[in-house]
């Protein structure tokens, strides 16, 4: 099957070009000397320097990180709890309805989520700012966490919890000492997912942000309307770098853990 054909090569090239050409262009132009984005005038890193002196961008970045960190943490706690209950509670009347309702926000148009949250915040008289963005992001990223964690819990051997109870744990201790450490990888990936979702959300944030707080995506979006500046290219390149490093590290760590486990198992079978 490992044959090189012109068809394979072409489809591979086209596919990757489709996916990555825009990003590559963006990265290249972030090193452009010229202020005109579409005219190449030599290599330079000056826009990165400019970026670091732009307070508005730095403030927005700080808000975004805060929002992403807090909302993904709350979403992880709530999402894990929801997943645990849905998987463990067994059959009860309305179970399908409940689990459907947990997953519905996944397919809900963001505009509607954003609008309804805006109406709620206005209705209860909550001033829009960092706090409301955190609430909004928690709401929509919670269901992603819940999906990731419940898929792990479904394959979780129930007798591990029973063994913990049998050995003297209270149900709370059993969860903390046995269940949580075992499902930790799923909880962490749920958190990472929520974090990234919050990091790049534009729609919901623009509904729920107020004059006191602006997130980075909103900031980028509004400055684009005044024309694309090379500074934004630099900023985007940095974000791509951060995400890429994160993803690559995570996959290397997972891969090596899996390899080590396999090697251990083989050694154990031989012994």
């Amino acid at each position: 099957m490992r044959r090189f054909t012109w068809f394979n090569a072409t489809s591979l090239t086209l596919g990757f070009a489709f996916l990555y050409l825009p990003m590559v262009l963006l990265i290249i132009y972030s090193f452009n000397e010229s202020k005109l984005v579409t005219v190449w005038a030599g290599f330079s890193t000056k826009w990165y320097g400019e970026l670091l002196r732009n307070e508005a961008f730095l403030d927005a970045a700080w808000v975004t990180l805060q929002v992403a960190f807090v909302s993904s943490t709350i979403a992880t706690v709530l999402g894990t709890m929801a997943a645990y209950v849905m998987v463990r509670a067994g059959r009860f009347a309305g179970r399908t309805l409940f689990s459907g309702m947990i997953y519905a926000p996944l397919v809900m148009p963001e505009v509607i989520t954003g609008l309804s949250l805006l109406l709620l915040f206005i209705g209860i008289g909550l001033d829009r700012g960092v706090f409301t963005i955190i609430l909004a992001h928690t709401t929509f990223s919670m269901c992603y966490v819940s999906v990731v964690v419940s898929s792990r819990l479904v394959s979780f051997d129930r007798s591990l919890e029973e063994a913990a109870l049998d050995l003297g744990c209270s149900p709370m201790q059993a969860f903390r000492l046995v269940t949580l450490p075992i499902i930790a990888p799923a909880v962490i990936s749920g958190w990472l997912l929520a974090f990234t979702l919050s990091l790049d959300d534009l729609v919901i944030a623009s509904f729920t942000a107020g004059p006191s707080a602006t997130t980075l995506p909103i900031k980028i979006w509004s400055s684009i309307r005044l024309g694309v500046s090379p500074e934004i290219n630099a900023l985007s390149t940095l974000m791509i770098a951060v995400v890429a490093v994160g993803v690559i590290t995570a996959s290397i760590v997972t891969k090596r853990a899996a390899l080590r486990q396999q090697a251990d198992q083989r050694a154990a079978e031989r012994a």
């Binding site: 109870l165 049998d166 050995l167 003297g168």
Partner: protein
């Protein structure tokens, strides 16, 4: 020298450790355990044996505290255990899947229960070392469960459930995941450990050989009821029903009508066939349907009609199952019934006296067959 036989169930002064009093467990419409009353005594190795779905695991889970009886009470050392949650019971369980905590080392797995009891650090260290020694796992203390073999995992699970010195240890199909050879070794190891620790063991298994090997008493279950609970020898030699006779070991069942004759009954089972005879303690009315259960190893197979035996049938060899040490002959009677006879292969195969299609005589003594009502 008099040897004291371990038979607390025959001693009226002995207080049972566990008492089931009219215990029923229902899951919706399904009755898993049907009004059971029985006792298990201290230091017993009690086996619950039966096909899957007979309720043996439910019985065990009620003892562990993962299920509560729908009706009736379970007493542990005289105390009703229904209101006590699993984590407060002096009962530990060894799970079928072993349920070792994958994120903890062997040492930490064994120490897990002791830490929950708030035991002092030194005492935990001593106790874990003792358990590792008992199960010969000293070398593997620092390994994680996925770094040891199946047999070793099984011993870690045992060590972990024994570490808290429970009054009662429950074993759920403990050897199910091991291969045949390792199973046998482990069975003897289990018995040895049970004797050393003096703990009461209750084992659930569907493997009759395993139950017979390890247990002091075996309870044969079917459809949520214990059909017979007795020593392995008595279960085998004097089953109380066709179900038990058939479930344990190999047996030929002959159905016929009973007529009183001396110390036993004459059984007419087919027209044109000589009547069979069995001595028994049970009382039947003349003409009642009855079943004769005959173990194959109690049937002798000869070329000539034996003069001294009342039970003698003529038949033709249909099949021979050669098992190495033993051969089982399937002999067909003129009316089509199959009777099994077993002989030890003390001679080389080439000198075997019978072969397929041979006409032979089957015979057994007056006390060899067990007469059953149902």
């Amino acid at each position: 020298m008099t040897q004291t036989v371990f038979e607390p169930w025959n001693d009226p002064n002995e207080k049972p450790l566990i008492q089931f009093r009219g215990v029923t467990k229902r899951f919706g419409d399904f009755t898993a355990i049907d009004n059971q009353t029985f006792d298990i005594f201290e230091r017993e190795f009690f086996a619950l044996l039966g096909p899957s779905g007979c309720g043996k695991t439910t019985m065990m889970r009620m003892l562990a505290g993962f299920e509560t009886p729908t009706e009736g009470t379970i007493l542990l050392a005289g105390q009703d255990i229904a209101p006590i949650p699993p984590n407060k019971r002096a009962v530990n369980m060894m799970f079928q899947s072993y349920a070792l905590f994958p994120h903890l080392s062997v040492w930490d797995n064994i120490a897990f229960g002791l830490k929950r009891d708030g035991m002092a650090r030194d005492a935990i260290g001593d106790r874990v070392a003792e358990m590792l020694k008992l199960t010969r796992l000293e070398k593997f203390a620092r390994r994680k469960p996925h770094q040891i073999s199946g047999g070793q995992r099984q011993r870690v699970a045992l060590a972990r459930s024994l570490a808290k010195a429970p009054k009662l240890l429950l074993l759920d199909e403990p050897l199910g995941a091991l291969d045949a050879k390792l199973r046998q070794d482990t069975q003897f190891e289990l018995m040895d450990i049970q004797e050393k620790t003096g703990t009461t063991f209750v084992i659930v298994t569907h493997d009759q050989e395993e139950a017979m090997t390890v247990a002091s008493r075996v309870a044969v279950m079917d459809h949520g009821q214990i059909i017979q609970a007795d020593t392995p020898a008595r279960i085998y030699e004097t089953p109380n029903s066709v179900y038990v006779a058939d479930f344990i070991g190999d047996v030929t069942i002959i159905e016929g009508t009973a007529t009183r004759d001396g110390a036993g009954y004459r059984i007419d089972f087919a027209e044109g066939q000589p009547a069979l005879y069995a001595e028994t303690d049970i009382a039947l009315t003349d003409g009642q349907r009855a079943y004769l259960a005959i173990r194959p190893e109690k049937v002798s197979i000869t070329a000539e009609k034996p003069e001294d035996k009342r039970n003698a049938l003529r038949g033709k060899i249909l099949d021979i199952a050669y098992l190495g040490n033993l051969s089982t002959y399937h002999v067909e009677l003129p009316k089509g019934q199959i009777v099994r006879a077993q002989t030890a292969n003390t001679r080389r195969l080439s000198r075997r006296s019978f072969t397929w299609e041979d006409e032979v005589w089957l015979s057994w003594t007056d006390t060899a067959a067990v007469l059953l009502e149902r």
